[in-house]
């Protein structure tokens, strides 16, 4: 039996978009908060659009914090999903899942042109690892965020906005992107396909 793809179901804003993106790639995911289904899935995607503090509270109330941290198969966090996989977020000053031992910070504009949120298409730099197989260096992907993860030892891609920050992270079976692969055209599809073929 083929191993299926599960999307973690909670109050995230972009679950529908991730679901559609996988279907465009020929994969029909299950959207679930069920511990057994998540544990048995071949791949798990942890999406996220929203506010960190409220979302962490929601994850804890559902026991999803413990479930996500205990997953053994490849897991992909997206946007807020990635930030929640870090140690702590300045957004609502909240302790997060601590899968990646970095803190999430708010962008500090240095000059008038530095607008926050960082909205739009920006380039991937210093890409490494299986998520970025296929010449994705300098390709554009889509971002929408006001908080960022500084470059650290888990960084597998960077992007420059106000300062270089982590566009993607990886540690063991945990992968995460600050950008939205589900909204990043053909480049995003390639990142998703790379994840699905891990």
């Amino acid at each position: 039996m083929k191993k299926n793809v599960a999307i973690v179901k909670y109050n995230a804003g972009n679950i529908g978009s991730v679901d559609y993106a996988l279907k465009r790639l020929g994969v029909t995911p299950v959207v679930t908060a069920d511990e057994e289904v998540l544990k048995q899935a071949g791949k798990v995607i942890f999406p996220g659009v929203g506010e960190a503090h409220t979302t962490m509270k929601h994850l804890k109330a559902q026991g999803l914090d413990r479930i996500i941290c205990g997953l053994r198969q490849p897991v992909l966090g997206i946007c807020l999903g990635m930030q929640l996989m870090c140690r702590f977020s300045e957004e609502g000053a909240v302790d997060c899942l601590n899968i990646f031992d970095s803190d999430v910070k708010r962008f500090c504009p240095q000059k008038h042109e530095d607008k926050v949120p960082h909205i739009g298409w920006n380039t991937l730099r210093e890409v490494k690892g299986p998520l970025f197989a296929g010449e994705l260096e300098t390709q554009f992907v889509y971002f929408v965020h006001s908080y960022y993860v500084p470059v650290n030892h888990c960084t597998v891609a960077t992007t420059d906005y106000i300062l270089p920050f982590s566009a993607a992270l990886q540690k063991d079976n945990f992968y995460a992107t600050q950008f939205h692969p589900e909204k990043s055209g053909s480049v995003g599809e390639m990142v998703l396909r790379n994840f699905l073929t891990l």
Partner: protein, 265 residues
């Protein structure tokens, strides 16, 4: 570096794409889902779908169409028209829209901006402003440019930002449909006053107009409709031109490069 965005706008009436000339006469410009998919392939950075009859005739926006667009497109898109309350926003975001644009409803009830920002985040809240230059001032209009509002462009845009707007979409009624360039002076003044991205709208006629609105108008994104719908400007050609003019633009990779990859699942 963050790229300047090219944003085709699809005005929708009865499920079809239309383009108003100075907001009054319309000509058909195709199927909205197919047209959007084509623009996405050609390199559009995002799309705007506006239900142009909604606020005038009180029609609810086209949730089904939004769902079809979301299923098909892999780039972000904004929907507007007929958004009166939080419930409308929830319905459109649930259907798959990435952002909503509010116009008349926000002018009538500015607290709507705060409510959207609070419930869904500023990043989903685009405040669209239609303004006309008259008596040495930019005056805002309601209902697709039909009713003057008691607000001035710069004052209202700053208030919208203050209340939590994530972006401002400024359409110059003075320039719209004339195809003689965007309202770059006003746009640049907006960029200087605001701390959120500004999308220029109204006046695109040729490639140079896009360059000018990025350089002189300091716009973060440029929206256009008829020049794209009727093939007067191709998005791929426009982007190559802008990149050659030194503007940071996203040129999508050739399809063959990203069609490879192994078996999925």
């Amino acid at each position: 570096m963050l790229a300047k965005r090219i944003v085709p706008c699809l005005d929708i009436k009865d499920g079809m794409t239309v383009k108003g000339v100075n907001f009054v006469n319309f000509r058909d410009a195709g199927d909205p889902v197919e047209l959007g998919a084509r623009y996405s392939r050609e390199g559009a950075d995002e799309l705007v779908y506006l239900d142009i009859t909604a606020s005038h005739e009180g029609r609810k926006t086209f949730t089904d169409l939004v769902g079809k667009v979301a299923a098909r497109l892999s780039i972000p898109f904004t929907v507007g028209g007929g958004i009166h309350e939080l419930r409308d926003v929830d319905r459109l975001l649930s259907a798959g829209a990435d952002k909503v644009s509010v116009n008349s409803a926000a002018l009538r009830n500015p607290r709507l901006i705060e409510e959207i920002a609070l419930h869904f985040g500023s990043q989903v809240c685009v405040v669209a402003i239609d303004a006309n230059y008259e008596n040495n001032d930019w005056l805002c209009y309601l209902n697709g440019g039909r009713i003057p509002a008691d607000k001035h462009l710069f004052q209202w845009a700053a208030e919208a930002e203050e209340r939590g707007a994530g972006e401002i979409l400024f359409t110059s009624m003075t320039h719209d449909g004339v195809k003689d360039g965007y309202a770059n002076e006003a746009l640049s003044a907006l960029a200087e006053r605001l701390h959120i991205p500004v999308i220029a709208s109204g006046g695109a006629g040729k490639k140079e107009h896009f360059r000018d609105t990025f350089l002189q108008g300091k716009a973060d994104a440029a929206l256009a409709a008829s020049v794209f719908h009727f093939g007067e400007i191709s998005i791929a050609g426009l982007k190559t031109y802008l990149a050659n003019e030194g503007i940071n633009i996203r040129i999508p990779p050739p399809e063959r490069m990203t069609q490879g990859g192994g078996e999925t699942n």
